[in-house]
Symmetry: C2
Subunit: 341 residues, 2 copies
C-alpha cells in the first residue's frame, strides 16, 4: 500500500475507498456518515480502507451534495482591542473552539471591527457560507437577528439587548443575582459604605449587575448612591476609582463590574496608599485567570466563561441536528472569596 500511496499525486477519493473495500460508493458513504443500516463486516472493510489510504472526505463535495457547509461562524461585533483585552471573551472563545474542535464543524471568524464591515458580515452569514452563527458580545442587539432574517440559527453569548419576543437563543448567567450575592458577602463581612463601579448603562451585563448591587444594599438598609460608571476595562476602572475616591472618600468597599475594572481600581487604591482589604474591600466579577494571581488575590463572582462558550457551541450543534433546545441557558455563578474582600 505504501508505494501506492506515494505514487498517487492526488488525494484518495471516496471512489478509491469503495473499490479498496470492495463495495459501492454509496455504501462507503454510508459507513462514513455512520448510517445504522450497514453490515458490521462492511463497516470494518471500509474503515480499513480509509486508514490504509489515509482518506479525508472532500469538504466541498460533501457540502455541495448535502447542502450543509460544516462551518459555524464566530462573530465578534465588538471593538477588537477591547474584545481581546477582556479575559471573559477569550474564555468564551476557548470553550467554543474546544467543542467545535471535537465536532465535524470548523470555526470561521468574523471580526466586525468596522461599521461597514458589519454589512459584509451579514451578507456572508446570509450567503450560505456557514450553518450557524455564534455572536459573542456585551451589547449585540436584535438588529443582527432581524438582518439575518432567520436565515440560520444564531446563538448569543450574553443576553442580547431587547430580548423580548425575539426568540433569540443565548447563554448567560443571572447577572443580577450573581452581583447581589457578591455584594451580600461584602455586607456580611461588615462593610457598610459599599460603592460600585458599574459597567456601561447600555449593556445588559452592566445594568443587571448594578441592579444586583442595589438590591443587596436595599435589602440591608444600606445607602446605594456611591456609584460611578466604568466600561468593564482596566483603565476605566482606574478612572472610576479616582472619581469614587474624590466623591465618596468614606467608602469601605467597592464592587467592580468586572475583574479588569477591579484591577484598575486596585492599582489606584495602592497608589493612594489605601490598603486592600483593610481599608477598602474590593470585589470583582468574572474570576478571570489573573484574579487568583493578583498581588492581593481578588475576591470575585465567578462566571463559568469557558463553559458558557462550550454551551453556546453545543446549542448551535444541537439546533443544527434538529434537537429541541431551550432558548436560554443560564449558567451558575459562585462567589469566590480570596484576599481582597
Amino acid at each position: 500500500m505504501a508505494p501506492d500511496r506515494m505514487v498517487r499525486a492526488t488525494a484518495p477519493t471516496l471512489e478509491d475507498v469503495a473499490s479498496a473495500a470492495g463495495v459501492s460508493r454509496s455504501t462507503a458513504s454510508r459507513v462514513i456518515n455512520g448510517s445504522p443500516h450497514v453490515s458490521p463486516t462492511v463497516v470494518r472493510a471500509v474503515h480499513d480502507a480509509i486508514d490504509r489510504l489515509d482518506y479525508v472526505p472532500n469538504r466541498a463535495a460533501r457540502s455541495l451534495a448535502n447542502r450543509r457547509t460544516g462551518a459555524i461562524a464566530l462573530v465578534v461585533p465588538e471593538d477588537t482591542t477591547r474584545f481581546f483585552g477582556d479575559p471573559y471573551f477569550s474564555a468564551v472563545m476557548r470553550g467554543i473552539s474546544e467543542v467545535l474542535h471535537d465536532s465535524d464543524y470548523v470555526l470561521t471568524l468574523q471580526l466586525a471591527h468596522e461599521i461597514e464591515s458589519s454589512a459584509k458580515t451579514i451578507r456572508y452569514l446570509r450567503g450560505g457560507n456557514v450553518d450557524a452563527a455564534l455572536i459573542v458580545s456585551h451589547h449585540a442587539g436584535d438588529h443582527i437577528l432581524d438582518a439575518l432574517g432567520g436565515a440560520l440559527p444564531v446563538v448569543f453569548g450574553g443576553r442580547p439587548i431587547a430580548d423580548g419576543d425575539s426568540g433569540a437563543y443565548y447563554v448567560d448567567v443571572d447577572n443580577t443575582d450573581a452581583a447581589r450575592r457578591g455584594v451580600q458577602h461584602l455586607i456580611d463581612s461588615g462593610r457598610e459604605r459599599i460603592a460600585h463601579i458599574a459597567g456601561p448603562a447600555d449593556m445588559p451585563a452592566g445594568v443587571d449587575r448594578l441592579e444586583g448591587w442595589r438590591l443587596a444594599l436595599d435589602g440591608a438598609g444600606l445607602d446605594a448612591t456611591r456609584v460611578v460608571h466604568g466600561d468593564f476595562s482596566r483603565s476605566g476602572g482606574s478612572a472610576a476609582m479616582r472619581l469614587l475616591l474624590e466623591r465618596f472618600p468614606d467608602l469601605d468597599a467597592v464592587f467592580a463590574a468586572s475583574d479588569l475594572t477591579a484591577f484598575g481600581a486596585m492599582s489606584v487604591l495602592a497608589g493612594s496608599g489605601i490598603r486592600v482589604p483593610r481599608d477598602v474591600a474590593v470585589l470583582g466579577f468574572d474570576d478571570s485567570p489573573a484574579a487568583a494571581e493578583h498581588d492581593v488575590p481578588l475576591t470575585t463572582v465567578r462566571q463559568p466563561a469557558v463553559d458558557m462558550g462550550r454551551r453556546m457551541a453545543t446549542m448551535a450543534i444541537d439546533l443544527l441536528a434538529g434537537r429541541e433546545v431551550p432558548h436560554r441557558a443560564i449558567m451558575d455563578t459562585e462567589v469566590v472569596v480570596r484576599a481582597s474582600a
Copy 2:
C-alpha cells in the same frame, strides 16, 4: 422582480443569473471571475442580473470545481489564556482579519490548546480544508512545517524556531536591533545599572531582545549581568521584578521584554515605594494600546503588530496567487518615549 424573489424558496444559482442576463452559464461564470475576455455589454447584463437576483455564488460548488477552498487558517499553537492575554497577538489577529475580510478568503480558526489537538490540526490543514495557514506564535517550530510536508503555503508570525534552510515564510521585526535601540535610549538618558526582564530562553523574541540589551550595554561599557527571565506575561513581570529588586537593589532602570512584563514590574515598583522614572526607569516592548494609558505612560519599543498581521495575510494571498514573495518581511520598529523612561 421583487415578487419573483419572494416566491423562490431556494437561493438563485449561476444558471438563474445566466438566463436572466441572456447568456450561457460559462459566460456568467467568466464575468463573476473577472475574466478579461468578455464584452462590456455582457459584463453589464450579468452584473445587473446578479444585483437583481441578489446572487451569491455557492462556495462549495465553486470550491469543488476549481479545487480551491477560499479559506485560510489561523493557527494558534499557544496556551490560549496567554495568547488572548497578550495584546500583541490580538493586534496581529486584527490585522489578519482586516485583510482577509477585504479579500475573497474566509478566516478559519484553529486553537491548538491541547497537545493531542495539534495532530488534529495538522490533519485538518493537510486534509485540503484550507488553501494556506497562518501560524501566530512566539515559539512555533519547524516541526509544524515538516508535519505539513509542504502540503500548503504557511506564513509564520514571528521567526520560527530553527529557521535555517527551512524556507519558511514569516514576518517579524529585528528584535535584537529594536531592543538595542531601546536600551540605548536608557543609556542616553543617563542610566547606568540597567536590568533586563527577559522573555523565555526558548523563544526567538526572548533571546533576541536579550541579545539587544546586552549589545547596548556592552557598547557603552556597562555591566550586563542584571538579568532575570520572565515569560512575557504580567504576572511573570511582577515576579521577575521582585527577584531583580532582591538581587540587584542598586538598579536604576529596567528593560522589560514586553509591555505586559513592564506593567507587572511597575506594579511591584509602585508597591515598593520606588518611583518611576525618578528612581527606576522602565522600558517596555510592544507599544500595546495600554502603554499610553498607563498611570505612568510607558516608554516602549513599538512594533507594528496590526501591520504585521496584515502583512502575514497579504503574503499568504500573494503566495496563493502565485506571486513572487520574499521569505521574510522585517517590519520597522520605533522607540516611543513617554513618561516611564
